[in-house]
């Protein structure tokens, strides 16, 4: 292609060197380069229009990956929300009813006041879904905070209830097999000593002198003393408005201020005070009013397990 070309001049009948051929060759090359450039640009533009760029493809796959993670998070969040909803409904429909607590206002629950929301206080992402997610998180967290507080309250109340159950008189103060006689006579009756018709504040459990007497619930000894007609008597303050009294004892082995448990030995049956025969006079008081102790005895239950 290169080198000198000649043309045949018919007028002069000579071969004349063609001095333009180099330029022409350069022109051809230039033209080829131009065509290549234009078609490359054209192809590039076309392909770019038709298919995503390599960067786009890479970013796209990363994007869908991140979106998958994101929707996984949202899914798990929904699962957690359902778990929380279950806890809330158990709280509202079961525990608050069982423990007789004030119900939580549903409006407050919906708004979820009282939770800690400092870490999720964000809403500056460019993607609305993310901001939505933060909102969702905030809401869930505040509801969770409310629920945690609520369960704390419930657990405290349950513990208090448990203490109340432990404290309340709920057994017979003398073992069933030691009883020789049981008079379920609470209320008006003829007094065996005075002979008149008067109110009997407790129940008489007849047993031999020296039979052990047990505290019927947890509490503090209010009195362990000789008390006139009661003779040697022990009064136990159970709290929650309850008091139990054990009278006509031959001996008591506790003193005022002692903390005692249900089933703990406090004394022995005797015949002190206004009494005609060895027996235990047992009273239960609720808010300083006498109530029928029969309801606090549970005589049909095997009580040996309680005595320690």
């Amino acid at each position: 292609m290169f080198g000198v070309y000649y043309t045949y001049n018919q007028d002069s009948c000579t071969y004349q060197p063609d001095f333009y051929s180099k330029r022409r060759a350069a022109g051809v090359i230039f033209l080829l380069v131009l065509i290549a450039m234009i078609s490359a640009t054209g192809t590039w533009l076309l392909l770019r229009g038709l298919y995503p760029t390599a960067d786009e493809a890479r970013l796209e796959s990363e994007n869908s990956n991140q979106r998958r993670i994101f929707s996984g998070i949202l899914e798990e969040l929904n699962r957690q929300e359902n778990a929380l909803k279950y806890l809330e409904s158990a709280d509202d429909q079961h525990y608050r009813v069982v423990l007789n607590l004030e119900p939580i206002d549903q409006e407050i629950r919906r708004l979820g006041v009282g939770g800690n929301t400092t870490t999720t206080n964000f809403s500056g992402a460019a993607i609305p879904e993310i901001n939505e997610a933060y909102k969702h998180f905030r809401h869930l967290k505040s509801r969770l905070g409310l629920e945690q507080q609520s369960y704390q309250e419930i657990i405290l109340k349950a513990a208090e209830t448990e203490t109340m159950l432990q404290s309340r008189p709920a057994m017979q103060p003398i073992e069933e097999r030691m009883l020789t006689q049981f008079h379920p006579a609470f209320g008006m009756r003829v007094h065996p000593v005075f002979g008149d018709y008067r109110f009997h504040h407790g129940l008489d459990l007849t047993a031999e002198s020296g039979t052990p007497v047990y505290a019927t619930g947890d509490g503090i000894i209010g009195t362990a003393d000789f008390r006139g007609g009661y003779g040697k008597a022990v009064f136990i303050d159970h709290g929650f408005g309850f008091e139990s009294r054990y009278a006509h004892l031959s001996k008591y082995i506790v003193s005022k201020g002692d903390h005692i448990k249900r089933g703990q030995l406090i004394g022995y049956v005797g015949n002190t005070g206004i009494s005609t025969a060895p027996h235990l006079h047992y009273e239960v008081l609720f808010h300083e009013k006498w109530v029928n102790p029969i309801h606090f005895m549970y005589r049909n239950i095997g009580q040996q397990a309680l005595i320690n």
């Binding site: 292609m1 000649y6 786009e56 994101f70 998070i73 119900p103 460019a126 609720f286 606090f296």
Partner: protein, 318 residues
């Protein structure tokens, strides 16, 4: 190039006409191709390195957002998960403490298949399923016997006179807190006979007469022990129903009541430790399991569930 072109051949010392040669075309074509490819790749890499499309910008931004926030949210989610599972455990132990029982004695096959190590040991799974099947059969026949005690073979029109309505408003199966039979006394935690069932409901919830009858007795008792305020209704066929621990009583002695008529409201009187209705049913003086008679308006599944809950060995609300 129409006019002939010549080249001087130095060897033959002649001017020779230049002929058209394919290899020039081929060379030109190859040149064109290589230049094209070179340009194309230059553009491609320039684009990749420096040019950003709108879409790329948007995607990059999104990815960055997702990346940061996914991390933040995952950490947050983990924390929430931990807190909720802690709360769940608290709730579980609370339930066990309050009712002295596990919530479920679950019998689903999914429980058997849940753990992976058990899946590997197929014989174990089969054994487990067999033992559960036996347990279920025993339970079913047990339920059947106790059920047929409450429902002796009678004519259909006699069944209609049974007290079968749920005794509280909006009764749901999970409101049955304690069933009939040997149950734990809440105060001293000893097992005793529980003559009725305990239905948890808020104070003031209406209590319905479960069948047609006559109010045979009403006893009011504000003492903190015993059954509190009680209504007893006498029905046909020797049935007697007893509604205890009521707050208010809306009927008087001797009054005729129809099925579903409000007779009082749920309270927390007597020895109850939670607001609930203590409901007893007697047939000719013998106590029946009231859970077996609560069939009106309940699905078959609910009735079975009711019997199951009733047979749990949990704590009464007294």
């Amino acid at each position: 190039m129409s006019e002939g072109r010549y080249k001087y051949n130095k060897r033959s010392l002649k001017f020779e006409a230049v002929r058209f040669r394919w290899r020039y075309v081929l060379a030109g074509g190859l040149f064109l191709l290589f230049t094209f490819l070179a340009f194309y790749f230059i553009l491609f890499y320039l684009d990749r390195a420096y040019l950003e499309t709108e879409r790329e910008k948007k995607l990059a931004l999104e990815n960055q957002d997702f990346n940061t926030h996914n991390q933040v949210l995952s950490v947050e989610l983990m924390r929430i998960k931990e807190e909720i599972s802690a709360l769940n455990n608290q709730e579980k132990s609370l339930y066990e403490k309050l009712h002295q029982s596990n919530r479920e004695d679950s019998v689903g096959i999914n429980d058997v298949l849940r753990s992976d190590d058990q899946l590997n040991d197929f014989d174990k799974v089969i054994d487990e399923i067999t033992s559960r099947a036996k347990f279920l059969t025993a339970k079913a026949s047990n339920n059947n016997t106790s059920f047929s005690n409450s429902w002796p073979g009678k004519e259909f029109n006699e069944y209609q006179q049974y007290p079968t309505l749920a005794p509280v408003k909006d009764f749901k199966v999970n409101m049955l807190a304690c069933g009939f039979g040997r149950k734990i006394n809440p105060y001293n935690k000893l097992t005793t006979d529980h003559q009725g069932i305990d239905i948890i409901s808020q104070i003031g919830t209406e209590i319905y007469s479960t069948g047609e009858g006559i109010v045979s007795s009403i006893s009011l008792n504000s003492e903190p022990g015993g059954l509190g305020n009680v209504v007893v209704i006498k029905h046909n066929l020797g049935f007697r129903t007893k509604y205890a621990l009521l707050d208010k009583i809306l009927v008087v002695e001797g009054q005729e009541v129809s099925k579903g008529m409000p007779i009082g409201t749920v309270g927390i009187t007597g020895s109850s430790i939670a607001p609930h209705l203590h409901y007893e049913v007697y047939l000719l003086g013998k106590a029946l399991n009231p859970a077996h008679l609560l069939v009106e308006g309940l699905s078959q599944h609910d009735i079975v569930r009711l019997t199951e809950i009733s047979n749990q060995n949990n704590q009464a609300l007294d």
